[in-house]
């Protein structure tokens, strides 16, 4: 199934990836190749097969409701580009 430029721009937007004009064509070709390869799946007879989300047939383990963390803001914010008054800063969010 061929991906159009619009498809590429749409998924690039969903994934928040900047794609230049020139890259759109390259991506649409390569993604189309990948999807063509993946399309082999449609031929598989999966009637009645239970989807497998996980290799383990295990149940979720539960954690005790006990506070284990202390304030490490200073350490954790050392990797951030822009902080002020303990807050991470981003361009204005318009609601």
């Amino acid at each position: 199934m061929a991906l159009t430029s619009d498809d590429v721009l749409h998924i690039a937007n969903l994934a928040r990836l900047e794609i230049t004009e020139a890259e759109v064509d390259v991506y649409s070709k390569k993604l189309t190749n990948i999807l063509d390869m993946v399309d082999q799946l449609t031929a598989a007879d999966t009637k009645g097969v239970v989807p497998m989300a996980h290799p383990l047939d295990m149940a979720q383990r539960l954690r005790e409701d006990v506070v284990t963390e202390t304030d490490q803001r200073k350490l954790y914010q050392q990797n951030a580009s822009q902080t002020e008054a303990g807050l991470y800063l981003v361009p204005k969010v318009i609601e």
Partner: protein, 481 residues
């Protein structure tokens, strides 16, 4: 508000209840409210590379508790999914939520309207998910500040069927859920702190039409008052559009309480393809029957059961029992007072009367009350044992509320103890009879309502402290002559 004849409103609510755990749903960070920004955001909450979620045990217990309280199916194998979208308050770029298989399935509860009519509202599902952080838009030179303390706080999202037909029904339902989660002690229900929030799906259709109209979702309604106004506004907006020949667009709208209107949030709609899929970092949540039974045993008495018991055990009217059981705190307060005083009717009257009025006047929660259940019980005991009259008790209560002491010390300090000494009362009556010969004549000639005048005179002379029963009896004898 204009009324539009011929239209029916259809409302469904999505209520986000913050669960009252000590730590977050997937990490050991504290959930305490009001800390300095990002001091309760650890590696998992910040979505650092490589970190993984582990589910909080109490979150599961609380969700099951809720499910059982609305007679819902508990899903034996529920699944966490990822809801993918980008937003600064969502550090992972996805919210872990439950999508196809929520922990709580179909249930229902009954609401009672002001006029006493009852209605059953379906609860489609309730699922566990994590809360987002908070964006602060002021004071950063045109930038937005992000505080992730709230990110990862456990939420139970309770989704109703589109069963409500008016804003009033929606409020009644929401209050019912609010009361229930507090009864269950799974949420503090604090709306001001955002622990109990609601989105409303609202649509209209011509009466008699079977299919639903296109709905709009009104986001983040965080007070009962706003919900009613927002829904009524939205209903009007939709009917106006349709009557003018337009069509409703399915969209998310935000209620602006300042302008009292809803407005479209198209910016958020734009990329509304959440690409849900099962979260590969978490395994299916498996709940067995044995666990369900353990939680069931732990269920407290619920409002409906309590109401019925208050009627049968204490002989309260349905109306009184209803008021006294809406809030778990009030019901516990009432029962505590009643047990000490031994008079349910007297306790009920006071709890619903002067006591509630004082709370309302000062805008206080029960937990902030200036008079404790023990204090009130002592006061009512003093009515019962004839130390004071009901009327004097009101005066004593006011002094108690003002912080002047307990009932006994106030009665003492103000000398409000009832006069039960018949000799003293007799002397006062004799004097009044002697000074009011005219009125005595009138009474004896059959004008019985003059009797009230004599009672008033005695009370005036004793500053209300004379035992009313003793005064009545003695006056009757004396006036006969």
């Amino acid at each position: 508000m204009t009324t539009h004849a011929g239209w029916e409103t259809v409302i469904g609510l999505e209520i986000h209840t913050q669960l009252a755990t000590k730590t977050k749903i997937f990490s050991g960070s504290s959930t305490a409210f009001g800390s300095a920004p990002n001091t309760q955001a650890n590696l998992v909450d910040l979505a650092y590379p490589g970190v993984l979620p582990v589910l909080n045990k109490d979150v599961v217990r609380m969700a099951v508790k809720f499910g059982l309280s609305i007679d819902a199916e508990i899903t034996k194998r529920s699944v966490f999914a990822r809801k993918n979208y980008f937003y600064p308050d969502l550090p992972k770029g996805y919210q872990i939520s439950q999508f196809e298989l929520p922990i709580v399935g179909l249930g229902s509860l009954e609401i009672t309207m002001e006029d006493g009519t009852k209605k059953t509202i379906g609860v489609t599902r309730a699922h566990l998910e994590e809360d987002a952080g908070k964006s602060l838009h002021e004071d950063f030179d045109g930038l937005t500040g992000v505080d992730l303390n709230r990110a990862g706080t456990p939420l139970l999202e309770i989704v109703s069927e589109p069963d409500m037909r008016s804003a009033k029904e929606a409020i009644a339902y929401m209050k019912k859920i609010h009361s229930l989660v507090r009864y269950l002690e799974i949420s503090d229900g604090n709306m001001a702190e955002g622990s109990f929030r609601c989105d409303a799906n609202v649509s209209v259709r011509p009466i008699g039409q079977e299919e639903y109209g296109t709905r709009a979702e009104i986001k983040n309604l965080n007070s009962f008052r706003f919900i009613e106004k927002a829904i009524n506004h939205e209903v009007e907006r939709q009917i106006d559009i349709i009557e003018a020949g337009g069509t409703i667009v399915q969209e998310t709208r935000l209620y602006d309480s300042d302008k009292d209107e809803t407005r479209s949030m198209r910016s958020k709609e734009e990329a509304n393809d959440y690409r849900y899929f099962p979260c590969p970092d978490l395994l299916p949540l498996v709940i067995d029957q044995e666990y369900i039974e353990i939680v069931r045993k732990d269920l407290p008495e619920l409002p409906e059961q309590k109401k019925a018991r208050f009627q049968s055990e204490y002989g309260l009217s349905e109306y009184d029992a209803d008021i006294l059981t809406v809030s778990r705190d009030v019901s516990l307060f009432f029962e505590d007072v009643t047990k000490q005083v031994g008079d349910a009717k007297l306790s009920a009257n006071w709890v619903m009367g002067d006591f509630s009025a004082s709370l309302n006047k000062d805008n206080l929660e029960l937990s902030e009350s200036k008079v404790s259940s023990d204090d009130l019980a002592l006061l009512l005991t003093r009515i019962k044992d004839d130390t004071i009259s009901g009327k004097i008790a009101k005066e004593v209560f006011e002094a108690m509320w003002a912080g002047e002491g307990n009932a006994d010390s106030i009665i003492d300090a103000k000398g409000l103890k009832q006069i039960t000494d018949t000799g003293a009362i007799e002397a006062i009556i004799d004097e009044i009879i002697a000074n009011n010969v005219g009125q005595v004549e009138q009474y004896r000639s059959g004008k019985e309502k003059v009797f009230g005048f004599f009672v008033g005179q005695v009370m005036k002379a004793t500053q209300g402290k004379a035992n009313p029963a003793a005064v009545n009896e003695m006056l009757k004898t004396k006036l006969k002559g």
